[in-house]
Each structure stands twice: as structure tokens, then as C-alpha cells.
């Protein structure tokens, strides 16, 4: 359908323009920003909670949570001390730059150092929509299986950081870390990779140190 292609091009172009506006606004405010992308239940919200707890002594953090329904994740981020805004997409399978622009208007950006945007749980569609963030983080998890980079290459290709979560479950499920990492490296040799367990507090120091350096770096 030629109309479909035309409309999609128009949508992506409009989205990219608004993403560039969002980036300008974030840069002007001196805010480093993450776009967390993952399957449902990979542990994005747990990672947000752990990251806030570790970094809040040094940095002021805001969170935007994207979900089809509920404000569960926003409540979790607020409970550990972040300013948090909820986007409920209705049925939409991803956040887009306009939704983030609207949410940025709801947040007070003065003094904020880090903005974490938690996308809708979906390993496909969010990768097609830039939000204006500085860093796209793909959160993988051990029980999902080691074949995910091979099966969802579009998302793994675009990641700046890949966090493999739930490594505490390695003894209980078939998951070969080498197979997973080989898939990551084939697609995306430059991505930073962190192996963590948010539940058992494993490997998170390396991630928070890396992120702290990024937040402090000039942009």
C-alpha cells in the first residue's frame, strides 16, 4: 500500500524533528538522558529503582514512565525518591517524541542531572522512534533466553548500552552467556555491556560508575 509507506515516512520525519527539540531542551538544561527499552518484565523498573537509590546522593533524577495502562512504575520510581511523570499510551506499543515533549513540560527540569525514560515493554517498536535521549539502553534478562540478540536485531543494533539482568537465575534456566554476548558483538561491537541482578544487587556498581561519568561529562 503506497499510502502506508507515505504515512509512515511522514510519521518518522515528524517524530525525528520533535526528538531533536527534546534533545535541545535537555542539553540546554544540562540533563543526561536514557531511553530504557526491553521486553515486558525484563526488569526496567527494577533497574530504575536501583539506579535511583545508588545515584540520588550525588544527582537529582527524574523519571518518565511509559505504559499502556496503570501508573505502577511511576509509583515505584517516586517511592525511591525521584520526580516521576506517567505517560499512558492507551494502546500504543511505544513512546514517541511528542509524548516525551508533553511529559517534559510536566516535569520541573531545573537542577535535574539525569532523566530516565522507561519505554513501553516491547523489544520491537520502540527502537523505531527516537525520543531525543542521549543513550538507548536495552535491558535483557536471563530467563528470556540467549537467542534474543539474533531474533530482535533491529533493537540490539541501535543500543548504546546492553544490560543483562537477572543473572542470579543463571543456575535455574538454560542460558549460555557466551552465546548471548556473541550475538551482541556481531550486531553491535561498540555497545557497553553490563551483567547485573537488580534483585540480588549484583554488578550494579560498574553500571552506576559508568553512568555517573556520563552524567558528569560535558555535552
Amino acid at each position: 500500500m503506497p499510502e502506508q509507506k507515505y504515512v509512515l515516512e511522514k510519521i518518522f520525519q515528524a517524530n525525528d524533528n520533535i526528538a531533536a527539540e527534546n534533545r535541545y531542551k535537555l542539553d540546554k538544561a544540562g540533563i543526561y538522558s536514557l531511553n530504557l527499552v526491553a521486553s515486558p518484565g525484563a526488569g526496567k523498573t527494577s533497574l530504575v529503582e536501583c539506579t535511583i537509590k545508588m545515584l540520588k546522593p550525588q544527582f537529582r533524577i527524574s523519571v518518565i514512565n511509559g505504559d499502556i495502562a496503570t501508573r505502577f512504575d511511576t509509583d515505584r520510581a517516586a517511592a525511591v525518591g525521584a520526580q516521576a511523570a506517567q505517560i499512558n499510551t492507551g494502546g500504543e506499543c511505544h513512546l514517541d517524541a511528542m509524548m516525551v515533549k508533553t511529559a517534559l513540560n510536566d516535569l520541573s527540569l531545573a537542577g535535574v542531572d539525569l532523566l530516565i525514560i522507561e519505554n513501553v515493554g516491547n523489544l520491537v517498536c520502540p527502537a523505531s522512534f527516537k525520543l531525543g535521549t542521549h543513550c538507548m539502553v536495552v535491558v535483557a534478562s536471563v530467563p528470556e533466553g540467549d537467542d534474543k540478540p539474533y531474533k530482535y536485531p533491529g533493537t540490539y543494533l541501535k543500543a548504546d548500552v546492553i544490560i543483562l539482568n537477572k543473572i542470579d537465575l543463571l543456575p535455574y534456566v538454560p542460558f549460555n552467556v557466551e552465546t548471548f554476548l556473541r550475538g551482541v558483538r556481531i550486531l553491535n561491537p561498540n555497545a557497553e555491556v553490563f551483567e547485573v541482578s537488580c534483585l540480588k544487587d549484583l554488578g550494579l556498581d560498574r553500571w552506576s560508575n559508568w553512568l555517573s561519568t556520563k552524567i558528569r561529562s560535558p555535552r
Copy 2:
């Protein structure tokens, strides 16, 4: 964007028409059919493997696997004795009725009793596209968390069957079965629910008995 709404309506309408054609073809061939929908890594392919192993003494089974990339899952279904066809969607986040129509042309339907269609791993988009199957099965998994029915209501609403997989991991992760089931019941009081572990072969007899009855029922 009004063009966007117009194009989406056209797409859904065209899809529904082709889904009806697929259903007609399946009914005429006396085939019962499942559409498996789940997050990436919930265990759709493991469920397909277990189901084939249990039912192949009684029934002839074909499988259509949808994936963005790779034919890993088709190879797994073929290895346990099913006729299997692969659909690689490129970047598409769901199967649609036209893809299934094409795949049905590739399969030999004579004598087949059960067709299992494994959708792309995505808990959002596949629910919007009818394929023409008799039964939509949502595969949930324990490590994803008990909040998924609340957060992905569109998919849980449309399910005929919900299979909660990976119950062997209940001792190792925070997951309240009651919370999960309450979410399911609020949205969808009539869905059949099965609690299983494909890895540890738990709870699968009830599922295979239910499915056998469906396959044998007149349509």
C-alpha cells in the same frame, strides 16, 4: 493525523477479510488452530515443542513460526516432528493474516489436525491483527512479573487461553500467583488458565487434554 487513522482502518479491514479467508480454509480442511502470543522469551517455542511431543501420537501437527529474523524456532519445531514453515517479518512487530495466508500455501494441509502459529514475541501489537485462528493463547511467564495483565490489558482481554509458564521459577523471583490471576479474572473471566513449566514438565497434561478435546470437537 487523519491520514494515519484512515490508513489504519483500511489495514485492519483488509486484514480481517483475509483472516476470514484463512479461517474458511482451515475449517474446510478440518484443522483446529492456535495463535500463540507472548513477550519475547516467555516460552512460546518451548510450549510448541512440549505440545508436539505430547500430541504427535494422536494428531498430525503443523507449525508456522513468526520471527523478525532467524529460523531457530522453526528448526526446533521440525526437530520434534512437526511440519513447520517460517515467516521472517523483516522488521514487522506482528504477524498479519496475509503472511499466514502465504504460509498456509507453503504447507501441505491434507491430514493435518492442529496448526500452531507462533507469533512474533510482542505483548502489544499481535493482539490487533486477527489471523483466522480458532483460539488465541497468551503465554505469560513467572519471571516477567505478576503485573502483566494489568499493564497489557488489550492482549489479556482478547485471550481465549492464558498459559502461565516457568512456574518452576516461583521460589526464586517475586511473583504472587493470586495477584496475577486476579488481574486475569478482572479482564477476562472466561479465559482458560493453565499453570505449567515446559522446562520441568509440570502441569502440561491438563493443557494437552484440553487441547485434544478441542481438536476432536466438531467445528
